[in-house]
């Protein structure tokens, strides 16, 4: 009897212990970020964005600190996109054309994640809301809720053992799903090879694009006087756009999960001023002296308006 009682006590303690050993929401997010960086995995992913569904083959390879993502379309126009730390390469099947864009790229095709997790809870509440099966794998459901009106909520289904994201949803302020990424299958491998884009196309024309090299932030012709907390500059470039005599300035901001672009160019009569939206992207345009300013991003209208209204031209 005593033995049985002891056994019950031990099992109960183990249960409590097991719960306590589960990582917290912020630890889970960190583990997920690490898993996305370090593990080798591939599968089929469906992206739902702006009401359109795209299904692609996805893979992530990691060897000795070097990462590479690959996406292959399953529908026309067929192409493959390969993301390395410092460039994104695209191979078009129909023309056998290869374009290598030396550009600052996001860390992952799947979702934006903060570089550092500390500080994220200043702007988001993180909490678990249960467990579900995704692609026949058990996942903990992690809710990421904004603390203000300047960003959208997210939910990530994080696989319980390897901490890879199986499903990601983004919701607008009416709790409507505006973006979804979901793996229909995911396979973990011990290793996956890296593609050397330069070596993979002997004899084929490779176009290298270097016109999106980032420049120091202080070279921007404008400054931001009001930005929702947590949004930090990611890069600043100058782009050539159609019908523009001068380059268009482009500054990208991000709070880790959402990104916002700020564009400044010579006054352009074609652009409508004020607030507008296209699918999940909201924007706000206004004139600043002789310049047209537009702020856009997958953030609530209040966020783009706030940023736009705080833009000032640099006096120097």
């Amino acid at each position: 009897m005593l033995k049985l009682f002891s056994l019950i006590l031990i099992l109960a303690a183990a249960n409590v212990f097991a719960d306590e050993l589960q990582p917290s929401p912020s630890q889970t997010l960190m583990k997920m970020q690490q898993a996305m960086d370090l593990l080798n995995y591939h599968g089929t992913v469906a992206f739902l964005r702006n009401g359109k569904l795209n299904t692609l083959k996805y893979s992530h390879a990691s060897i000795e600190g070097q990462n590479q993502e690959r996406l292959i379309t399953l529908n026309s126009p067929m192409h493959e996109v390969i993301r390395d730390a410092d460039k994104v390469s695209c191979f078009f099947e129909s023309t056998s054309r290869v374009v290598v864009d030396h550009r600052p790229s996001a860390r992952s095709f799947l979702m934006d994640l903060p570089e550092r997790m500390d500080g994220i809870e200043e702007y988001y509440d993180l909490a678990f809301s249960g467990e579900e099966q995704v692609a026949l794998l058990t996942a903990r459901v992690l809710d990421i809720k904004p603390k203000d009106a300047f960003r959208y909520a997210r939910r990530i289904w994080v696989e319980k053992q390897q901490f890879l994201p199986l499903k990601i949803e983004v919701y607008d302020q009416n709790n409507k799903t505006i973006e979804q990424v979901v793996f229909t299958e995911m396979i973990l491998e011990k290793s996956l090879p890296l593609v050397d884009v330069n070596a993979s196309f002997p004899g084929r024309e490779i176009q290298h694009i270097h016109d999106r090299m980032p420049m120091p932030f202080d070279q921007a012709g404008f400054e931001l006087t009001q930005v929702p907390g947590g949004f930090n500059p990611q890069f600043y470039i100058q782009l050539n756009m159609s019908d523009a005599d001068q380059p268009v300035e482009h500054l990208l901001l991000s709070d880790g999960f959402s990104s916002v672009s700020v564009y400044l160019e010579q006054k352009n009569e074609k652009m409508a001023l004020g607030a507008s939206s296209s699918g999940t992207v909201n924007s706000f345009s206004r004139l600043v002296d002789d310049y047209l300013l537009t702020v856009m991003g997958e953030v609530p209208p209040a966020a783009v308006k706030l940023i736009a209204e705080g833009v000032r031209l640099r006096s120097d």
Binding site: T44, F47, R49, N50, K52, N54, K57, L71, I72, T73, L74, S76, P77, M78, H79, E80, R83, V88, F91, F92, E93, S94, T95, S96, R97, V99, D101, S105, A106, L136, L137, Q161, T184, E185, M186, I187, L188, L192, P193, V195, V197, S200, Q207, I209, L239, N240, M241, H250, L252, S261, N268, K270, M271, A272, G274, S276, S278, S283, T294, M296
Partner: protein
């Protein structure tokens, strides 16, 4: 005794200690910052001789790494079993069988870890016959949906092939996933390269 230890540190740098001696010394050094400092200075001397640069290493560098590592999970051997066990894998694949049927019918080589993945997969598959596709490379200007209404708060609708769409492409081009490949991020890039 100290001189003997210092000599061993000198040999450690040059991989001149046998296994046991090296292990004992490293364990001693872990407990003794004075010995670690000696190692650090010997290494500094070597680096200075090679490069004419004085490179100092914080005396608590190893301790900082130690602290960071101790927050990491512990490894357990044998290698962790893949939770994606074959039965579950097959079941998950079965859930995508409609997709696979489409791939097979298009003659597209299945993306599989058994294939050589050192090249882009589409390159491997490019020998298969496929339906004629719109050539992205032939676009001389951004291929963006035409006449897509743009709503404004004022209720005015403007047609697109517009600056807004170009902004959108530049904004979205960091992700490359944008649903609807009518908004071909690379179409714009290709068109620039043709200018």
């Amino acid at each position: 005794m100290i001189e003997e230890l210092n000599q061993k540190i000198s040999q450690l740098i040059d991989n001149d200690l046998d296994k046991e001696e090296a292990l004992v010394l490293l364990k001693k050094m872990k407990q003794d910052p004075v010995l670690q400092a000696k190692l650090s200075r010997y290494e500094t001397i070597g680096h200075a001789i090679k490069s004419d640069v004085f490179l100092s290493v914080d005396c608590d560098f190893a301790a900082r790494v130690n602290q960071a590592i101790h927050k990491e999970p512990v490894y357990l051997l044998p290698k962790r079993k893949s939770v994606f066990n074959p039965n579950i894998r097959l079941s998950a694949l079965a859930a995508s069988v409609a997709l696979l049927a489409v791939l097979v019918s298009q003659g597209f080589l299945s993306y599989s870890s058994s294939e050589s993945l050192n090249k882009p997969s589409l390159l491997i598959a490019s020998n298969t016959e496929s339906e004629p596709l719109n050539s992205l490379a032939q676009a001389s200007r951004p291929v963006i949906p035409s006449d897509r209404p743009l709503e404004t708060k004022a209720g005015t609708v403007h047609s697109s092939v517009s600056r807004f769409a170009e902004y959108l492409q530049a904004h979205n081009s960091t992700r490359y996933i944008d649903g609807g490949f009518e908004r071909q991020p690379y179409a714009r890039i290709v068109s620039y390269s043709q200018e």
